[in-house]
């Protein structure tokens, strides 16, 4: 075996190792975080009123919040449009990527293939808008920190490398699929020797590791937001705070 091949074997092993580590950090970190939210009590009923009067109502409010961002619509129409398109694009991109991990590929994914490719291409528009407003609007600039920029830049870089592979430096899909299916069947094989694919993949690993310890937790955290995920029935029945008795008053 020559030096180059040896080096490639090391790199491949590193990438495979990183893939497992980042998947583990993502899934484990996400579940731990959500479990922590679930475990933490809600001492007082702080539902934002007027709110839904029953559980199906709360469910509907949360689904609405996740799918169409009504509060953001009330707050800022331009931001709402940008953020909504941003998330819809993300949805289609993620949907399309299931083809690399599922065999056979579900019909829906194939049917929406073209739409999903457009979503990937168009993703740049809302993403750059969100980045632009961080820099151009003084109030948003004031609150933006390095992680806010890095998260957006990371997503933009992932999308850019993805689109490069689709339109320009095409990667041999059979190799990609062999690699990804190898990963999920715990029989890993070396990734394709394609620099843009490798960059794309490493950036995704970084995103997965970043996810549970960052603001990206808004994705699961919203279901644990007490102002939204509670029934507006504070008066009846009696709501119990599990640690109320620990606070002694004479």
């Amino acid at each position: 075996m020559n030096d180059a091949a040896m080096l490639w074997n090391v790199i491949a092993a590193f990438i495979i190792g990183l893939a497992y580590v980042s998947a583990f950090v993502f899934v484990g970190g996400l579940l731990l975080r959500l479990a922590l939210y679930l475990k933490t009590p809600v001492p007082l009923k702080i539902v934002q009123t007027p709110g839904p009067k029953n559980v199906p109502g709360v469910f509907a409010r949360l689904v609405g919040d996740v799918v169409i961002f009504p509060s953001l619509f009330k707050a800022d129409k331009a931001l709402w449009l940008g953020a909504w398109i941003f998330h819809v694009c993300l949805f289609f991109i993620l949907l399309r990527h299931t083809r690399y991990f599922l065999y056979p590929v579900p019909g829906l994914v194939i049917d929406w293939q073209t739409l999903s490719v457009y979503a990937g291409f168009f993703f740049a528009v809302p993403a750059l808008y969100l980045l632009w407003r961080r820099l151009a609007m003084s109030r948003v600039l004031y609150i933006s920190g390095l992680p806010d920029y890095l998260t957006l830049i990371l997503l933009i870089a992932i999308a850019a490398t993805g689109m490069l592979m689709h339109y320009y430096a095409r990667v041999y899909l059979v190799d990609v699929k062999a690699f990804t299916l190898g990963l999920i069947t715990l029989a890993p094989v070396a990734p394709p020797q394609h620099p843009i694919f490798l960059a794309h993949f490493l950036l995704v690993c970084a995103l997965l590791i970043w996810f549970p310890t960052s603001k990206l937790m808004h994705a699961g955290g919203i279901f644990f937001s007490p102002t939204r995920a509670q029934v507006d029935n504070v008066l009846y029945p009696r709501y119990v705070n599990p640690w109320n008795d620990e606070v002694q008053v004479d």
Binding site: V42, T49, L72, A75, L150, H218, S225, V234
Partner: protein, 483 residues
């Protein structure tokens, strides 16, 4: 600060109404412009009376960090909200204190970041490494907290516009609880809580003076109506214990007399209590222990007087704390359901049942508009009942612009323990949105069921030259009620 001050430049912006929307001018950032407006620090005797350290404890940094840890374990809202804010800025132009001052730390997200950066420092290593703003809990941070967490009225307006419902009030409450733990609190809030323990009410009115006031109001009612309308005190066995803001017996006496007329007309026996003649709960602005302890007095009084129901009077904070009574000191099953009850719910129900005779023309001299107290609307589900009451008692009712009422209501600018003179510049700036919304209606009477609003809004309206009388919702009923 209380003598003379120059208004914040932000308040010079032009407001106008188009269709049913108040166009809200958003000021440019003016960093630190409100930094000099801070509350007077607490006095040792008050701190002692409410079981807090009389001065800043020696190991304050350590204790504050430990308290933060405890609160993170106790409050899901705090944990989740510190984590998930994406810093989108949707809330940044929604707070009346930012709109009024232009100080960026009064943007809800930036206010929360004052705590979030400390959380990040001790609890979020990766974000810290990647350059997220992180700072140890130090003297400078404590000063920022003391300033800006006492320029927040905990009104929750930001949470309505947040895509995740992040409630800055929860963050503010946590920061204040941490500060209280290390002996840092404001004179106004601690004094009020101490007065409740000493005298039974926020204003510190002694029992005999309370009884005197009630007798005086009975005479007033006699002169006005010719009838013997009573304001009973400490009457064991009455049906209803009324816990109103003590200000009703002292400043907002029209509201107090309105309660008396209401119960008289209905033939329901009622009483106030000199042990607990206060609905307002300033423990809410300080820490859980005092919230619970102040609240407990209500049920203790109810038991002692053997009443069947407790009804909360026209007070926003009272109601926000009142709805927690069952959780804090319940169960309330020794009382008749439903409980707790707000006086507006009670009266609206009585009007619906046709139990009251009303002459609406008695209020024809006023164009009436309604200010939703932040606590009533966004925390207490009290949106329809006051409006039903006004529609039933007035012919001329106009709403303020749609983006300033109901769950989008602007705080009066003095809730959350800010109704103190040294904060006057911030209070007037924070009251500007409400003043402009009111101006746009041409109303001559601004009705609101909250003692804090009733104390703050006349000053605000005078300051911004809006010619309107501020009063209670029951005051309108009082004028229209046929006895």
């Amino acid at each position: 600060m209380t003598e003379k001050w120059t208004d914040f430049p932000a308040t010079a912006l032009t407001w106008e109404k188009r269709n049913d929307t108040l166009r809200i001018p958003v000021p440019e950032l003016d960093e630190g412009i409100a930094a000099a407006v801070t509350c007077y620090p607490s006095k040792a005797k008050d701190m002692q009376a409410i079981a807090l350290p009389t001065e800043r404890v020696p190991d304050w940094q350590h204790r504050a960090i430990r308290k933060l840890q405890q609160l993170l374990e106790r409050y899901r809202a705090l944990r989740v909200y510190l984590d998930i804010c994406v810093q989108c800025g949707a809330c940044s132009d929604k707070c009346q204190f930012y709109l009024g001052t232009g100080d960026p730390n009064n943007m809800p997200v930036a206010r929360a970041n004052l705590l979030r950066k400390v959380y990040r420092y001790y609890h979020r290593p990766l974000e810290k490494i990647l350059g997220g703003e992180a700072e140890a809990f130090n003297e400078r941070v404590l000063h920022e907290w003391y300033t800006y967490f006492y320029q927040c009225s905990e009104c929750r307006r930001c949470s309505v516009f947040c895509p995740y419902g992040i409630d800055t009030a929860e963050i503010t409450m946590a920061a204040r609880e941490i500060m209280a733990e290390i002996g840092v609190a404001t004179k106004y809030v601690t004094e009020v809580v101490a007065k409740v323990y000493e005298r039974g009410n926020n204003l510190g009115i002694p029992g005999p003076a309370w009884i005197d006031n009630c007798q005086f109001l009975e005479e007033e009612l006699k002169n006005e109506t010719g009838k013997d309308i009573r304001l009973p005190v400490d009457e064991v066995g009455a049906e209803v214990l009324l816990v109103m803001p003590s200000a009703d017996n002292f400043a907002n006496t029209d509201t107090m007399m309105a309660y008396a007329k209401l119960f008289y007309a209905l033939g329901i026996s009622w009483t106030t209590s000199t042990y607990c003649n206060e609905g307002g709960n300033f423990g809410l602005f300080l820490n859980y222990r005092n919230l619970k302890k102040v609240n407990k007095r209500i049920l203790d009084a109810a038991r002692a007087l053997k009443v069947k129901r407790v009804i909360w009077g026209e007070c926003g904070h009272a109601w926000r704390a009142g709805i927690y009574t069952n959780t804090l000191n319940g169960p309330m099953d020794f009382l008749d359901p439903p409980h707790p009850v707000h006086i507006c719910q009670f009266t609206a129900e009585m009007i619906k049942r046709g139990a009251l005779k009303i002459d609406k023309t008695a209020n024809d001299d006023h164009i009436v508009t309604y200010h939703d107290p932040c606590n009533a609307a966004r925390a207490g589900s009290l949106l329809e009942e006051p409006r039903e009451m006004i529609r039933a008692t007035c012919n001329k009712f106009v709403e303020m612009p749609a983006n300033t009422i109901r769950e989008k209501t602007f705080c009066c600018g003095a809730g959350g323990g800010l109704l103190t003179d040294e904060l006057m510049p911030v209070r007037m700036a924070g009251g500007k949105p409400r003043a402009e919304a009111c101006r746009s209606t041409g109303a001559t009477y601004l009705a609101t069921p909250c003692a804090i609003c009733k104390a703050q809004l006349p000053e605000v309206m005078k300051h911004w030259k809006v010619n309107v009388k501020v009063g209670g919702v029951h005051d309108l009923l009082s004028r229209a009620l046929i006895l």
